[in-house]
Every structure is written in structure tokens, then in C-alpha cells.
């Protein structure tokens, strides 16, 4: 393994009955680069994320994170190794306050099986939560239930929750899906800033955004990796154009 490969995906297959959602995926993520995964609906992008994070067991193949085999490890253990992700359908703790959302994610690093300690006495988690509130511009909503936030703020909070776990690699599943132009611009800016300090893999449908933020693009089609390269290489790749980008030609 090369030390710069933070994530290695080897011959991953995932079958749902007779359907091969992933049909032998080989890919790796290099540290220091923002990697984007693109592909049509049903190409297997989210399924791949689910396999990587332990939500779905693969039918075959291996996933290595930081050189360690994480295939078939439980979701929470993979998180503890430093792999965080957001979900395509925004997923936060709706009935808890914004601050509590960030707090519990931070506390997960120090352990939660402390039944006789006061939650409010966890100074590190308190600090991380307050700092992230500030950083994400959510301080004014800190004590509001997450369910009351706007869609864009929920997406931000979800990223914040992932960050509170101090990940080494962050997987973002369509982070700007459903956002207006202003929110999109804001979020893209945030992602670009984040990429300076942690490794990010992003699934995104918006090709413009992908080409704007990413250093490396992986194109998936029908459960396989179709192509890989820099945005410039991908945009000129004939195979990709016909299989995927071609649809956008008339736009």
C-alpha cells in the first residue's frame, strides 16, 4: 500500500438478489485530494458509500481504510477509526438541540458509557460543540431543536456532526442536493475550505460543482468504475461523454 492511499476499494461486489449493484469496483482515494464520484442514477455510488461505511456488507471484495481492512466491521467501529459520512437524505437528531447534536458526536470519541457523569461536565465535547456552532454560523440556533432549522442549515449541521467526530476521511453524499443557488455557493465554499484539512470524497450530480471543487474524479456506471482522472481528463474522455456527460450536451 502506498502511504498516500487513505482508502482502498478492492473488487467490491454487492448483489441484491439477481441485481449486481456493485460489480467489481476497484478504486482508491488519495490523501490530500478532493475526490468526486459521479455517475448516473443507479450507477452504485451510494451503495458503494454504504459498503465503505459498513451499513451494507459487500457480497465480495475488500475495503481498506488507512491500510487496515474494515470490510464487514460494524458501522460504529468504522466511525471510530476516523471515517465520517453524511447521507443523501439529510440525517440529524431532529428532537435534540443543534448543540446537543454536535455535542454527542464529539462525545462519541470519549465514550458515552458514563452513566454517573453529568453530560454538561464534558468540557472537551462542550468546547467542540460551541466551536462548531460558531464555525458553521449556527450559534444563534444552538439551543433550538434541529427539526426547526432550514433545509440548508440541517445540511450544514449534518456536516458539523461528521466533523465533530474528528474524521480523517469525510464522505459527502450529494451535499448540495435540494439547495438553492445561494446555499449551494455557501456550501461549496465550506467544502473547499474543509478539504484543506481533511480528505473528502463527494458524490455529486451537479457536474459544474464537481469540476469546480474536485482534484480527482471517479466515474461510475452500472456498478463499475468507468473512468478516473482529473476533471480536465474526464471532461474530454470520449467514453465518459457518451455514457454520462453526453446527456448534458444539449443543456
Amino acid at each position: 500500500m502506498s502511504p498516500t492511499q487513505i482508502l482502498e476499494i478492492e473488487d467490491i461486489e454487492k448483489h441484491f438478489g439477481g441485481l449486481a449493484a456493485l460489480d467489481g469496483v476497484n478504486a482508491h482515494v488519495e490523501s490530500g485530494k478532493l475526490t468526486a464520484i459521479i455517475g448516473a442514477n443507479g450507477a452504485g455510488k451510494t451503495t458503494l458509500f454504504n459498503v465503505i461505511t459498513g451499513i451494507l456488507p459487500p457480497s465480495a471484495g475488500r475495503v481498506k481504510f488507512l491500510g487496515q481492512d474494515i470490510t464487514n466491521k460494524p458501522v460504529h467501529e468504522i466511525s471510530k477509526l476516523g471515517l465520517a459520512r453524511t447521507l443523501q437524505i439529510k440525517s440529524v437528531f431532529n428532537g435534540m438541540t443543534v448543540r446537543e447534536n454536535l455535542w454527542i458526536a464529539a462525545q462519541s470519541r470519549d465514550g458515552v458509557f458514563k452513566p454517573f457523569q453529568r453530560a454538561s461536565a464534558s468540557s472537551r465535547a462542550n468546547q467542540v460543540a460551541d466551536q462548531l456552532c460558531e464555525e458553521l454560523g449556527l450559534t444563534q440556533f444552538a439551543n433550538q431543536e434541529a427539526a426547526n432549522l432550514s433545509y440548508g442549515d440541517i445540511a450544514l449541521l449534518e456536516i458539523g456532526i461528521a466533523l465533530a467526530t474528528e474524521p480523517k476521511l469525510l464522505l459527502l453524499d450529494e451535499p448540495i442536493c435540494g439547495m438553492g443557488p445561494a446555499e449551494t455557493e455557501q456550501t461549496v465554499e465550506k467544502i473547499r475550505n474543509l478539504a484543506k484539512r481533511i480528505d473528502i470524497v463527494i458524490i455529486e450530480h451537479d457536474i459544474e460543482v464537481v469540476f469546480e471543487v474536485s482534484d480527482e474524479v471517479i466515474v461510475m456506471a452500472q456498478g463499475k468504475v468507468l473512468a478516473r482522472g482529473t476533471p480536465a481528463e474526464i471532461s474530454t474522455n470520449a467514453e465518459v461523454r457518451t455514457a454520462y456527460l453526453g446527456d448534458d450536451d444539449d443543456a
Partner: protein, 335 residues
């Protein structure tokens, strides 16, 4: 005044009433209500056990009477069959229920929602029929009665025992109070917050590195412990154990008490239990179909106050406070 302070005042009021009930209640109603009140406190623990699972971890158990029954039989069998003293029998009952919660929980918390509800019913039925048919040990249909051993005895003559009504009342208050204090501490701890994440969104909880299975199991065992204390206290209270109290309709009643009182609030179960047992005591003499009234109350509460009376109270307190202040204050409702 903050909502927090108002709620604390409420808790102090309930505690004061409970401590002074042997003097307050006889002024207004018949003296046997002191006894009924201590029984309500015991039953409220069973509702609290349901609440801990449903209100905080999101698991709806219809089998908590199983652990109540284990605590009850532990005490009765400990005293009548094994010849244990007061405290060892109490400990035996609690140990039995907690162990049972660990074993059944090991399997049950792999499931959620209706599957979880069904398996808890199945477990409680299995042991209900076991208790019913294992006559030599449990007394079967007749139940198992015992003579109360003293709590403490000094020499031959003097002993403190639950046969003294005042001792019994305060013993029950002390133990029930200790259980609520314990739950209060746990719910305000990191573990308590982890409970709520599992209820809110178990996938997200796992994704931030929380071991959802272990968190559910821990909650299940604590709930089994609390129900076990209730069962042990109930055995002392009635000086006997009976399989009747292990039947799943007892579990179901506890679910109703917890939901009416307010799932997800610490003292909601006390409110729900006292209210519905009072209704039962008052109405069942007058009208044999009084359960219809209970049913209507449940429907009304579930529709108009889905968070129960406890939730209604929290909402009111928060709203009154929001009006009098700028409305940007922390809500402590969930803890």
C-alpha cells in the same frame, strides 16, 4: 424564573407531598389512600421502566411485567422457600430481574418496533406460564405468600419491620425515590444523551460511532432493574407473589400509564399512574365498564397531547416563559 426552575419546583412539590402524604391525605380522604398512594408509587416504577425504553431509547416493550414478576418472585421465593432475610431477599429479587433483562435483552434489542414489541410479549408469556405451572416453587394459581422478616433487628425484642405501616410507607418512598434519582442521574449523563440519539435516529447514531446495540441493551437492563425493584417492593407490600402480575395486560397497563403521563419525561409516569389508578379505584365501584372511560382518556391524550400530560406541562411552561422573555432560552424538556 426559568422553565428549569419551574420544573424543579414541581419536583420539590411532588416530593414534599409524598413525604407528608401520611398526614395530608387523611385530612381530605379516607386513610387507606395512603396505602393506595404507596402502591401507586410502586406501579409508577413499572411505568417508568416502560418510559425509559419508549420515551428515551424508542423501544416499545409490552413485556416489562416479566421483570416486575422476577423481582416479586425473587423476594417471595427468597423468603418463603430459601429462608432469606429481608435484604438478601430484596437483593435476590432485583438480581433475578436484572439478570433476566440481560438475557432476554441480549436477543430482544436486536429487533426494533413491532418485532421488538412482539418478542417482549413472547418472553413475558413464556415466563407467565412457567410461573403458573411450576407449582412447588411459585404456588401456581394460588400465588406464594410469606411472613415478613424484619428489616433490622436489635437483639430479641426490638425490630424494625414493614409490618409497621409508617415504616412500610417510608421504605417504599425511599426506594422509589432512589430509583427516580438514579434514572435522573443516568438521563443527564452522556449515556442519557446517547439514549436519545438512538431514539431519534439510530443510523446517524451508529455513523457517529455509537454502539447502538450496547446502548439499547444497557437501557433494557436498567429498565429491567427498575421494574425488578418495583416487583420486589410490591411483593413486600402485599406479602405475596402471584403470576397474575406477570401477565402481559399488566405490561400493557404500564405502557398506557407511561404514555398518558408523558413518555420522555422523568416524572410523567408518576402522573399517569396516579391518575389512572385513582380513576380505577373511584370508578370501578360505580361502573363496571369504567375501562371505556380510560379508553376515551387515552384516545384524547394521544390525539391532543401526543407527548402526554408531562409533555403538555413542559410545553405550557416553555410557552409561558417564552412570552415573558425573549424566547431564546434552552429547552430542557427532553432530559
Amino acid at each position: 424564573m426559568t422553565p428549569d426552575k419551574i420544573n424543579r419546583l414541581g419536583i420539590v412539590a411532588v416530593a414534599l407531598f409524598t413525604l407528608l402524604a401520611p398526614w395530608i391525605l387523611p385530612v381530605f380522604v379516607d386513610e387507606f389512600w395512603v396505602d393506595i398512594y404507596s402502591e401507586m408509587l410502586i406501579w409508577s416504577l413499572l411505568a417508568a421502566s416502560v418510559n425509559l425504553l419508549f420515551g428515551y431509547v424508542g423501544l416499545l416493550s409490552f413485556g416489562q411485567a416479566l421483570f416486575f414478576g422476577m423481582g416479586m418472585y425473587g423476594v417471595a421465593i427468597g423468603i418463603a422457600k430459601i429462608g432469606l432475610g429481608f435484604w438478601p431477599a430484596f437483593g435476590f429479587g432485583i438480581l433475578l430481574s436484572t439478570t433476566m433483562a440481560l438475557i432476554t435483552g441480549f436477543l430482544a434489542v436486536r429487533l426494533t418496533w413491532h418485532y421488538f414489541a412482539i418478542i417482549t410479549v413472547v418472553f413475558s408469556l413464556i415466563f407467565y406460564f412457567t410461573a403458573l405451572s411450576w407449582k412447588p416453587l411459585t404456588g401456581g394459581d394460588d400465588g406464594l405468600s410469606f411472613t415478613m422478616p424484619p428489616i433490622f433487628s436489635f437483639g430479641e425484642e426490638t425490630a424494625i419491620s414493614l409490618t409497621d405501616p409508617t415504616v412500610q410507607y417510608y421504605f417504599i418512598v425511599l426506594m422509589v425515590g432512589a430509583c427516580y434519582a438514579l434514572m435522573g442521574v443516568v438521563l443527564k449523563s452522556p449515556l442519557g444523551r446517547a439514549f436519545r440519539t438512538v431514539k431519534e435516529n439510530d443510523m446517524r447514531a451508529a455513523l457517529i460511532g455509537l454502539n447502538v446495540y450496547m446502548i439499547r441493551l444497557t437501557a433494557f437492563v436498567i429498565a429491567g432493574f427498575v421494574a425488578g425493584v418495583a416487583g420486589a417492593l410490591f411483593a413486600f407490600f402485599g406479602r405475596y407473589a402471584s403470576a397474575t402480575y406477570m401477565f402481559y395486560h399488566v405490561s400493557g397497563e404500564a405502557v398506557v400509564w407511561a404514555i398518558i403521563g408523558g413518555a420522555g419525561t422523568l416524572l410523567g409516569p408518576v402522573v399517569g399512574t396516579t391518575l389512572l389508578i385513582t380513576l380505577r379505584e373511584e370508578l370501578s365501584d360505580v361502573w363496571e365498564h369504567y375501562l371505556i372511560v380510560v379508553g376515551v382518556i387515552v384516545i384524547v391524550v394521544v390525539i391532543f397531547a401526543p407527548k402526554g400530560l408531562g409533555g403538555l406541562w413542559m410545553g405550557m411552561v416553555n410557552r409561558i416563559f417564552d412570552k415573558s422573555a425573549n424566547g431564546n432560552q434552552p429547552k430542557e424538556g427532553g432530559e
